[in-house]
Amino acid sequence: MSFLKRAWLSITRRTGKSLLLLLIILILGNAIAGAISIQQASRNVERKIKADMGAAATIRIDFEEYEKLAQQYQDNPEDMPRPENPTPELFQTIGSSPYVKYYDYSTGTSVGSSSLEKFVPQYIKEQMEQQAGWMESDWEKYYKFTLRGVQYYKLLPIEEGRLSLSGGRVFTEDEISKGEAVAIISKSLAEANHINIDDTVVMTNYVMDFQNVDTNTGMPAVANEFDYAVKVIGLIEEVKAPTPQGNQKPNDGDKWNQAYMEQQFANTVYVPNGFAAKINKDATQANMEANPEQYEGVDPKDINRVWYFDPVYIIDDPDNLERFKEESAPLLPDMYIVATTADNYKNISAPVEQTTKMANYILIVAVVASVLIITLVVLLFLRDRKHELGVYLSLGEKKGKVVGQIIAEVLIIALLGITLSVFTGNLVASGLSSSMIQAQMEKEAQNNPWGPTINMGSGDVNDFLSSKLTMQDVVGAYQIRLTPTYILVFFLVSLGTIALSTLVPMFYIVRLNPRKILM
């Protein structure tokens, strides 16, 4: 009769004690399984939401630090040290990171055009007609279009599937490096103005004379204007994300927002950074002549410098965001930080994060309690069986096999208890976490009734780093499920706990003296 058979007979014939141990393991197993379920679910939700958010990063001023600095110098703001702006060279150095798929940074301006009409969505037109007397502001005429400079010739939004090329082509590397006067415009703008690929349009940059303001309209006079002939080489349109099939109809606010966004996109003209920089330089020179008082005391180097901003780095994998952040942070000037899409997750994941934190505590307490309780219970059972163990030793049984018998008994019962806990613990976690998340949601709603603000910047930065996902999306994605990873992790943690629990009983057996027990 091998020690394993003895173990089996001991379990099946000492049913009361076996059931008691099973019950204890089942209760503790449920606590461990529940905690691991919650951990796994929140890891899955984090992975899913982060994947939905994409993996992008930017460099921006640390607003919190800047605010603190501004407060320090509120009495003498002129003495406040100005953060040094990052240069294109720095953007490029950071862009050479192995984690970066591709990147872009931009300079830009707003321009008008005598040959092009601004695209206005149907909804806005209808609203304007309904509200008689609503006139477009005079400013609109001079700044109809947003010129967005591009350094990445294939265009990030096209590469990332947010925009599609519906005609023509993207830039060439040569056009980007030479800053040629070529543009990619929206299909809707092209259609509204009957523009075809290879047509040339004229963009006008207006320089205003702020010394000479019309007292009736409040508009400054135009001091100078520069026309730029730009060849249209490509047409783009937005790739619409499928809208959720819900019963809720969009309200007026939603319609306005949608129409406004549509208008913004349609009137954005993508041009090489070099071309946008040239327009800016021309404008600065003309503006200096028209409004010299604005440049008094300004370093001429700064006047002629072209400012590049909105760097966007598309990272190869959401898991590499942190590594990219760590690698890039030391290269940045003071007061600048790397912001990533993962930062958005922190803003909307509070209820799940809190629940996970609780689950972590529960897991630690459950494991420690399990080790202590199971150790004590097994020790108590062994004290009862001291004579039996003494008999094995007096018969010359190897201590290893006596230990093996006891470990086998505990493991067989534990395996049964753990297997049952896999399912029951999952149910416990489901009930527990939904009430915990609900409580956290209510708490968050009280603390922050407007919800988290997730606007990361302008242009591509806004497109790639801001998120429309909400706390509800995170909570909606949170699902307690029986996954292979959960089962594997739970079995590893539980069996590890059981193994720890048998350490002290093992020493107890090794130290047994059969003479003292039996004679």
Partner: protein, 224 residues
């Protein structure tokens, strides 16, 4: 040649600077086919002596030789597993096993060659000792004291050893049962050529043995 012998066997308790000797330089030898009793008053060191020769305890000085080899060299565990069978006063059976399973446990532990169909051998052995097959399948907790001690004897014999050691084996039994157990020991020694060594404080049992070893003040004196 003796199967078991002790040479200068000494066991004492250290009490500060002084030593209290339980066994002092004991030389004794045991042969197969004889029934020995170690007899003495309570506290005389009988059980300590038995613990030494059953390798459940270690002497401070001296040697115990099995067929001329020091049992320390043989390995205490191995010696208990393959050379001796031990019977205790309080039977010490495994309570959740049946009589035959208790015997089978010992048979599975020894490395001595045993006949095939171990369970059948165990039943036969129990039957020989006076435990019927129907009782052999019962849990040992449902057997009487005498029956339990018979199971313990069968267990000690089952490993095919040459030496049977017993510590007050009839201490918990009535007189009739005591005599039956003693008769089994005599039979084992005389008919099966075993060396049976029984520790007892009972003069009646001692008088039935082939050799009485009287333990007094740490010394053994032999009476045949």
């Amino acid at each position: 040649m003796p199967i078991l012998e002790t040479k200068n066997l000494t066991y004492y308790y250290q009490d500060g600077e002084s030593r209290r000797y339980i066994l002092n330089d004991v030389d004794v030898s045991f042969e197969k086919g004889k029934f020995y009793t170690i007899w003495g008053q309570s506290g005389s060191g009988k059980t300590t002596f038995l613990a030494m020769i059953s390798a459940l305890d270690e002497p401070q000085e001296g040697q115990i030789l099995f067929n001329g080899s020091d049992i320390k060299q043989l390995g205490y565990e191995s010696y208990r597993r393959n050379r001796i069978g031990i019977i205790f006063q309080s039977y010490n059976l495994i309570p959740y096993l049946s009589a035959v399973e208790n015997v089978l446990v010992a048979m599975s532990i020894t490395e001595n060659p045993l006949p095939d169909r171990e369970k059948e051998v165990a039943y036969n052995l129990l039957d020989y000792i006076g435990i019927s097959r129907s009782k052999a399948d019962r849990s040992v907790t449902k057997l009487s004291g005498g029956e339990q001690q018979r199971v313990a004897v069968a267990r000690a014999l089952s490993t095919n050893v040459e030496i049977i050691l017993a510590d007050e084996p009839t201490g918990n039994l009535d007189e009739a049962m005591e005599q039956e157990i003693v008769d089994i020991f005599k039979k084992l020694a005389h008919e099966h050529d075993k060396c049976v060594i029984v520790v007892t404080h009972s003069k009646e049992i001692a008088e039935q043995s082939d050799v009485i070893l009287h333990l007094h003040k740490g010394a053994l004196r032999s009476y045949e």
